[in-house]
Amino acid sequence: MIEPYLHYSDTLTTEPTTIASLSTSSILLTPLPRLSDLLKVKIPIAQSYVRQVSHAIAPSTKRLDEIYDQEQSTGVGPSRLHSDDDDETLDRKGKGKAKWVSTGDAGLDEALGGGIRRGCLYEITGESAAGKSHLSLHLALTFQLPSLTSSPGGSLILTSERELSTDRLVQLGQHLLSLHEPTLLGGERRVKNLLDNILTNRVGDVDALEHALNYAIPAILESRLDPNTSTNHQLPIRLIILDSITALFRGGTNDHERPTAPNALSLAERSKHLCIVADALKAIAVKYDLSILIINQVSDVFQRSTPVSYSQPTSSFMQTQPFTGQNNANPEDIAMIYKTQSRWFSGESEQLKKEASLGIVWANAVNVRIMLSRTGRRRLLDQYNLTSHKRNRPEDRAYLQNEEEGDIRPTLIRKLHVVFSPFSPASTIDYVITPSGVHTLLDSYKKIDVTSEVIRKQIKEEKDRINSENENAGFSSQVNEEDEGGEEELRDNWDEVFDEFGELPEEFWKGEYELGVVDVNGKGDGISDQVSYAGYSDEMVKRDGQGSEVAYNSVEGSVVGSGLGEGSVVGSGIGGSVANST
């Protein structure tokens, strides 16, 4: 810790001070008049002392190409830069690349640019039940596996809302060990070792966090590095997780007053604490060479009065002038206002109207932001080999009989969105949570490419314009071949259903029943079984399309909707009332 400069009020001894008796930090940080006073020299002499001392202790400058070569030769760079063939297999798992730790999942590693990098601050944000804490537990375990990293390490988990949930940790530990290190024996003993290397503590408020970051955590990190105090299977700490940082800033600490809405003063306070915390975390990350994972929550983004495009950056000059009073500059969409700019870094997207909490100060403090969300779509997935399946229909029963071991369940598809990162492009990738942890799905990695989005949109608008002109002129409208990115063709082997909370019954997944589909425009094309929409249903249609048989009386309720769902029901005779109770 740097000693602060010598205060005027500090009473020094009466002996004259020589330059030799002062510490370098005192020399560099004391104001010049005071220094010259102390040493009884003139100011220019004191200046030269300061200059000489700073030259002496300044670190030598390094050229970038030297650093690059050094990293390549010691294998410290990220895995994908390495071109050596023999390192191919090691590359994938990040082993041998001291700065990078593989997450245990190839798709996730690719999305993150090689894995989790040491010395960086990662933020995992997302709505509740998206899987944030779970991902952090998964990483806390993979960090300890020697097959995934050349320097395994333990983790420190700080929780602010609730105690660590260890049941899942044990279960995950068992599964991860059997997945990545099945050849070693030891079983329960090894799971215990995994848990022994995870330290945890509660932090109730920001002051407790700052206290821990300044004193308690460095003390623990040191003791784990010191060969005298650490025992055999104790690994040095390589990962610090804070779950979650938002809870420390929400909820208020003042016990007496009625909590009021945040005002400018409290926001300034909050920003100050955020900066202090972020600085302390980064300092620890660099000094002890570890990664930091912060879990953040989300807040809703309210609908703007005019729809905002996520692929069209505003380029109009008029829109960069906030107060011109021009009629056509939409005040909601003015370029330099936070609301307009935040959509690029807050994790908000067309599908997810939520943004990461804690504002722009925190967004600038983290190195990598990852947004997790639940897409609401479910798919039949084998929990072990992650193959997707179509809903078993009576004619597919033969397939079922061959199934010996597979465990096929309707699984919720979740989405991981790398919002920004210095190591990889912005992208999204789908993943699922199975008993053995977090697994990304093949072929779901999509880079977010703003330029091609813009071009695609322009082409589409052009087409729509032509179509509408043709319609007006009496020609039949062209079939719009360019549907949503050509995803429909891929769905030969599996289909997805929108079912956020998993309310569809088992019979539906076995293919015995279908959902009646509400047809908004009355152009019945019957029952769709590609992407259908779930909901409550009084009656479900039997698969042979016989219409309104009361096949399954599941729950009371309402019309099964599609899109903005009112409208006539086709073929299934669902009449039910739209229960809009509040």
């Binding site: 810790m1 509740s128 945890t200 308690a216 003390a219 909820g251 909590p259 309310e503 409550y536 769902g565």
Partner: protein
């Protein structure tokens, strides 16, 4: 050899476990380089043990005469090195959790998916439409929490905060009879309060903590947590005020759960989603309270109606339980298993 087959999470060997460290006197800090004068100043100010010093915020130490900011920093650094600052390994937490009390709900199916019942020391949120059984579960829990731990109860009283006026003691008498408890005593052990507005609801918690300090409570029910917020705060303008208030309420609940080890059960209402969204369903129901509510509750259970008198409960958000469903029934004597299951 036999010891190796033991569950490694159970405490191994008596001596290792019994590290009852005697508190270190402040004078011990001298070994770390703090001068004797400074340690004397600390003990004069009331800090007699190293533990006391380690957990004190720096600002407080600086108020001691003669301890400057740098000195306080150094003292804290050394103190934290000497004292385990509350960091425990996950193994210890895991073995502690195996002793956690779960309160049975009365239905075996529901208990199974919950891992034994409602967890104490955490907030469980029940949400669903009307007539899905939220208040019924609360009434049953108010009785089962008084059962001894061996029967799946919590061995403590119940505190019931009611906001909708749905409290019916007669239901509890029926449940008491089912478990063979004396109806009068059961009702005596339930402390009831009716909240009239959101501020009042928050204030009741202050009284609650006073009561919990005096006798053993095992369950705190708030039925329902969010209905008063809907009427007291209206419109988007008051939204942030509402969320702040709700956040404070939930934080206080969490503190009570932690401090006294009670199970906290809150019920929540749902709102219909009438707007679109990409895959909107005409009748999708979402629990209210927004992100604040979602993040504060440890476990969220979604209740919906099944066939006849049966109800379906699904775990929607839990730190350790997988998404699973259970069917239970609302019977005349509380929550129980549905008829078909019983016949099997």
């Amino acid at each position: 050899m036999a010891s190796q087959e033991q569950d490694p999470f159970v405490g191994e060997g008596g001596e290792e476990d019994f590290e009852l460290m005697a508190p270190l006197l402040v004078a011990k800090l001298q070994e770390a380089g703090i001068s004797a004068q400074d340690t004397k100043k600390l003990s004069d100010a009331g800090f007699h043990t190293v533990e006391a010093v380690a957990f004190t915020p720096k600002k407080q130490l600086c108020t001691i005469k003669g301890i400057s900011e740098q000195k306080a920093d150094k003292i804290l650094m050394e103190a934290c090195k000497m004292v385990p600052m509350g960091f425990t390994t996950a193994t210890e937490i895991h073995s502690r959790r195996s002793e956690l009390v779960h309160i049975t709900t009365g239905s075996t199916g529901l208990d199974t998916i919950l891992g034994g019942g409602i967890e104490t020391g955490a907030i469980t949120e029940l949400y669903g439409e009307f007539r899905t059984g939220k208040s019924q579960i609360c009434h049953t829990l108010a009785v089962t929490c008084q059962l001894p731990v061996s029967m799946g109860g919590g061995e403590g009283k119940c505190l019931y905060i009611d906001t909708e006026g749905t409290f019916r003691p007669v239901r509890m008498l029926a449940v008491a009879e089912r478990f063979g408890l004396n109806g009068e005593e059961v009702l005596d052990n339930i402390a009831y309060a009716r909240a009239y507005n959101a501020d009042h609801q928050l204030q009741l918690l202050v009284q609650a903590s006073a009561m919990m300090a005096e006798s053993r409570f095992s369950l705190l029910i708030v039925d329902s947590c969010t209905s008063l917020y809907r009427t007291d705060f209206s419109g988007r303008g008051e939204l942030s005020a509402r969320q702040m208030h709700l956040a404070k309420f939930l934080r206080t609940l969490m503190r009570l759960a932690d401090e006294f080890g009670v199970a906290v059960v809150v019920t929540n209402q749902v709102v219909a989603q009438v707007d679109g969204g990409q895959f909107a369903v005409a009748d999708a129901k979402k629990p209210i309270g927004g992100n604040i509510m979602a993040h504060a509750s440890t476990t969220r259970l979604n209740l919906r109606k099944g066939r006849g008198s049966s109800r379906v409960c699904k775990i929607v958000d839990s730190p350790c339980l997988p998404e699973a469903e259970a069917i239970f029934a609302i019977n005349s004597n509380g929550i129980g298993d549905p008829e078909e299951m019983k016949e099997q």
